[in-house]
Symmetry: D2
Subunit: 327 residues, 4 copies
Amino acid sequence: MKYTPDSSELSHTFGGRSPVLSVKPGTVLELYTEDCFGGLVRDVDDLPSVVCEFPYLNPVTGPFHVEGAEPGDTLAVHFVSITPARDWAVSSTFPHFGALTGTHTTATLHPPLDEVVWRYDVDVDAGLVRYHARRGDFSMELPLDPMHGTAGVAPAAFESRMTIVPDVHGGNMDTPELRAGTTAYFGVNVPGALFALGDGHCRQGDGEVCGTAVEAAMNTVVVFDVIKGAATPTPRFETDDCLMSAGSARPLEDAFRMSQHDLITWTAEMTGLDTLDAYQLISQAGTAPVGNVCDPNYTMLAKVQKKFLGGVRAYEGVHARLREISR
Amino acid sequence: MKYTPDSSELSHTFGGRSPVLSVKPGTVLELYTEDCFGGLVRDVDDLPSVVCEFPYLNPVTGPFHVEGAEPGDTLAVHFVSITPARDWAVSSTFPHFGALTGTHTTATLHPPLDEVVWRYDVDVDAGLVRYHARRGDFSMELPLDPMHGTAGVAPAAFESRMTIVPDVHGGNMDTPELRAGTTAYFGVNVPGALFALGDGHCRQGDGEVCGTAVEAAMNTVVVFDVIKGAATPTPRFETDDCLMSAGSARPLEDAFRMSQHDLITWTAEMTGLDTLDAYQLISQAGTAPVGNVCDPNYTMLAKVQKKFLGGVRAYEGVHARLREISR
Amino acid sequence: MKYTPDSSELSHTFGGRSPVLSVKPGTVLELYTEDCFGGLVRDVDDLPSVVCEFPYLNPVTGPFHVEGAEPGDTLAVHFVSITPARDWAVSSTFPHFGALTGTHTTATLHPPLDEVVWRYDVDVDAGLVRYHARRGDFSMELPLDPMHGTAGVAPAAFESRMTIVPDVHGGNMDTPELRAGTTAYFGVNVPGALFALGDGHCRQGDGEVCGTAVEAAMNTVVVFDVIKGAATPTPRFETDDCLMSAGSARPLEDAFRMSQHDLITWTAEMTGLDTLDAYQLISQAGTAPVGNVCDPNYTMLAKVQKKFLGGVRAYEGVHARLREISR
Amino acid sequence: MKYTPDSSELSHTFGGRSPVLSVKPGTVLELYTEDCFGGLVRDVDDLPSVVCEFPYLNPVTGPFHVEGAEPGDTLAVHFVSITPARDWAVSSTFPHFGALTGTHTTATLHPPLDEVVWRYDVDVDAGLVRYHARRGDFSMELPLDPMHGTAGVAPAAFESRMTIVPDVHGGNMDTPELRAGTTAYFGVNVPGALFALGDGHCRQGDGEVCGTAVEAAMNTVVVFDVIKGAATPTPRFETDDCLMSAGSARPLEDAFRMSQHDLITWTAEMTGLDTLDAYQLISQAGTAPVGNVCDPNYTMLAKVQKKFLGGVRAYEGVHARLREISR
C-alpha cells in the first residue's frame, strides 16, 4: 500500500485529526514525508522565518488508523527503509531556537543569532551528504544515515500536541536511533492509535544542537503490528541487537531519568531480575544516546544490548516477525 | 448572567471543546466551579487515586466564547469575588505527584509516599480554614485567601492541553495572585478566546509543595473585556497596586526567566525605558512570587509595584474600568 | 569589639584561611564590609570587567573564630544593624553573568550584553535609594532595605569555596531576608566555625536578576552564639515572626526542594508532627522567597510564620536571647 | 618513575594539598590508585555507609607537580595503560546517591533505597568482568573497559574541591572516554598544575546511573606534557581519531551546552571556520557521550571525529608525540 499526501492533507499535530487511511496489521506501507520546513526552504536564501508560517511547521504524514489497536495495546512500527526523496537537503539556525541560544523559555535579553541556511548535497548511492560552509569555502562529506525525527500516536487525555513536541506519545524525539531496521513501540491511547510520521533527517548529530538536522523529504516503508494488552509507558525501540527506552522531559536529567527508569523496570520484567539487580546491571552495561536538546521537551534514550540481558524476547518476538515480513 | 455546569458539561482540556456560553465584553458572569477532584474526595477515606479516574481530573467550567475576541487581541478577566461553596475543603498527597517525591518525569525507584487526605473546615465569615493533623491531634487556623489555580484560554497551533498543564495560554498556574481584585490578561489564540476556569483553592502555600492546595468548589464572579490588537505573550496580572507576568516552564529557572523577561520588556514598552535600564530597575524593585513547583510546567511570577514604574497605565486602563463595573 | 579590615586582610574564599580575630559567644562585634566590587566601581565609567580582577571579587570580612564552636554544633549570628557606609552605591551588568543572559554554564553563542553601571544615591536618614536610568532621564526612589548577600562558615570536607558560591555552608545566598533583626544559623564544620561576611546590598529584588544588587560597603553589628550539639544541615534564619530554611543548588527546583525539605523536617522535629502532616501544613502555610537566580548555585528559602506552628521555640530560644543582648 | 601511595598519602580534594612528587614533562609515570571506597568494600556485606567515613571517600593519588606548568598553560596527560590491580571489583547503591533516587539536592521525603553491594570477578586476560545478581542467580559477562572516573588539577581562585565534584578543573567526570589511548588536557591554574588521579572503573555504563561503576584499584601509566601559553577552558580529550570537550554542570543541559560550546568554538579556532559554520558542522557530525548523571555536577562530552574537521592538529600535535613516547 502506498500513500503520498498532498499538501492539504499534512498534519501539524498529534491528536485532534481524523485518519487519512486505515491499515491492517501486517500491511507494508510506503509513505512520502515532507521535510520539517514543508519543502519551502530550498536554497540558502530561503530563510525559514520568512518562508514558513507558524504553526505550519514540521508537517507529518498521517494519521493512520491501525485496525484493532485499542487503548492499552501497543503499536509496533517497523521501519523497513528510509530514503531521501531529493538530491539536496537543508539545515538552518532559527531565531531563538537551538541549544546554544536564548529561547522562548530560556529567555534572555540577547537578540537572536543570525539566521543562516545550509544546503547539503545528498548522494544516496554513495551514502553521503556534503556540507558547505557559508562563510568560507570549506566542504566536508559526512555519512548518510537517514532517520525520522518525528513519529508517534495520538496522545491520551483528549490532548492534541504540536508535532514539534516530544512526549510519551512519541512526537519530535529527534533521535538517530529511529532509522531503517528499528522497530518502534508506542502505547495506544485512542482507537486505531492514529500513527503519523515526518521530519526526515539525512543525518543528525546527537542533541540536534543548532535546532535542525540535515532536513529532507523521505520515501519511507513501514510495517505495523498491534500487541494486544501490552502497555508501553514511553516509546521504546528495538533493533536486531538492542533494546531502548525513550524519555522526553525537561530538564535533561529528567529525560535521562525517565528513559533509564523505563529500561530498568522493563529489564526486570523481561528477565525476572529484582529491580535493584536490574538497576545495577543497566548501570554498568547500558548507554544513553542523546536525542534532542532543543525541542519543547528534550529526549534521551537508555539502550542496552540484548545479549547482556541473557536472551530476552520483547513483546513476544514481534521485531523478528516484522523483520521477516519486511524482507 | 449566571452559569452552573452540570457534571457532564465540565471540561478537562483547554482547547478542543465547543463553548458552553457566549458572553459580551462587560458582562458580569457568576460561575460555579467544582474542585480539582470533581467533588469526589469528601472525607479522609476518599483516596483520590481510588475515587478519581484519569483523565477526569481538575475539571474546569467553560469554555466561554467572548464576543469580539480574535487572535492577536488580549482577553482581560477581572475577578470580582471568589467564595468557597462549601464549609469544608480537602487536600491530599497523590502517588508520585508533588515537589518532594519522585514523579513520572523525575523518575526514581522509590515506591510512592503514603496517600493521605486532609479535610479542612472552612469558615467564610471568619475568614479562616482549619487544618487537622492526621497522625496526632494538632489543629491550626490559617487565613482564608480564595483563589483559582486554573484559568486560561484555548492554546494556539490547534493544541488541546490537559487542564493540569500551565503554559502561555494560562492553565494550571496555581498562583495565589489569582484572587479577587486581580485582572488577568491572556493572549487570544482562537476566535472567542474560549476562557475556562476551575481549581479553586481556599488558600495555598507558595509552590503547592505537596501537589494540592486547600481544594474547594467556588462561586466566582468575573467580568470580561477584550483589548483589540494588543498582544500578550504570556499571562499577566494586574491589581490596584501591582503588575505581574507569569512564566510556566521547566526547569524552574526557565519559569523565572520567562516571567522576568516579560515583565522587563513590558516595563520598557510602557515606560519608554531602554531594555537594560528596565532590566536594572526590575532587578532591584521586583519580586518573584512562586506559583507551583509540582505541575507539568512550574510557574513563577515577576511582580512590581506600579508606583516604582512612575505611573504607567497598562492596557489603556482596563483594570480600573473593570474595577468600576464590578462595584 | 570593632573590626575594620585593611584591603590586604579581605578574603575571597570560605575555608582555606586563618582567622583574623577570635571572639567569644555573646560578643557584640562591629564590622566594616567592602562592596562586592572591592570598592573599585565608583562611577558609571568604572566597568567591573576592567577595574576588577578575577578572583579578587566579592571580598568578605573575616573569618572570625568563634570560641567553643566545634563540628556538629550550630553557629547563631544575630544581625543587630546593617548600615550603608557611603552615600552612594552601584549596580551593573557583567559580561555573561545574570539570569537573562547566556553564561559560562548556560553557554550560548551570543556576545555578552552591554556592560553598564548604575550609580544610586543612598539616603540613610530618609530610608531611600535613588535609581537613575542610564539611557534616558527617568529616576525613581526605592525603599532602603539593607542586607548582606554573603555570609557563612568554612565548608566541610577540607573544601575552600569562592565567596560567590552559595551552598550548605552559606556563602553568596543573596537573600533579602538576611537583614537586621534576623538570626542566621550555620552548621559548624571546623573548630571555631570561621564565619565571614560581606556583599552588602542597600536593597535587591528577588532573584538578583541582572546579577548584582544595589551594592554597598556596610557598617554592620552582629552578635554570635554557639548551640552545642545541634546540627544544622543547611542555613536557617529566624526573625521575631518567622522561621526559614535556605536551599542552594541547580536547577532552581532543587534549591526549592532542599529548602522545603529542611523546613518540613525541622517543623516535624520541633512540633512532633508526623512528616506527612508537616508536609501538608507547610504546603498550605508556607512561602518560598527567592534569593538569587544568577550565582553558581541558585538560592531559595522556605518560610513559615511561627504562629502557624503553634508556638515553637527553635534552638532553645537563642534568637530571643540575642535580640535581648542587641538591645 | 613509579609511585605507590601509602594510605596516609591519599588526597580527598583537588587543591589545598602539597605535591607528593615533582615530575618533568615527558616522564613516564607508573601509579597505583585505590578504588573509590578506599579499598574498604571487599565483599557484599561491606556496606559503604558503614565501612567508609565521610569525607574520606574517592581518594586520589597525587597531586603531582609538573615542572614548568604555569597558570595559562595547558597540561597534557596521556593515558598509556590502565590495568585493574585485583581480580575483583565492587559496585553498590548508596543512600540518597544516584540518578534514580531522591538525593541531598533533589530532596524528597522518601527513605533511601536499599544499600546493596555487588562484587564482580575481574579477568584481565579474558578482558571481562562478571556481574552476579544479588537476589537471584543470574550472572553475565561484560567487556572490561578500564578507565579513570577522577582526574584533574588544582582549581583556580584558591579553591579546594572534594574529589567527588567535577568542574572545569576536571575532577570526578566519570566518563568512559578517559581510557588508555586518550590524552586529557587541563587548563593550569597553579604553578605545577598539581595533577591527581583516582576512581578506577573496570567499566561503567553511560551516566553511572546507580551512582557507582565497577570500582577497582588500578595500576596506571601516564605521560605528562605542558603546552605553554595555551588556554584550555574546560577539560578536553583526544584520541587517535577524535576530539572531545567536557562540560560539568547542573542541570544536565548546561553540561551539554558547555561541552558543545567548547567543541564548537575550538573547532572554529582550529579550522578557521566561522562560528556559525562550526555550529552547523558539529550539529550534524558530533556526538554527545554522557559521563555522569549522579555527581554534584553532571558531565557530558561533545565529540567529533578529526577527519570531519579536515585534518586539524590540536595543541601542536602533542597527542601524537605522547603516543610515540608511550610506545
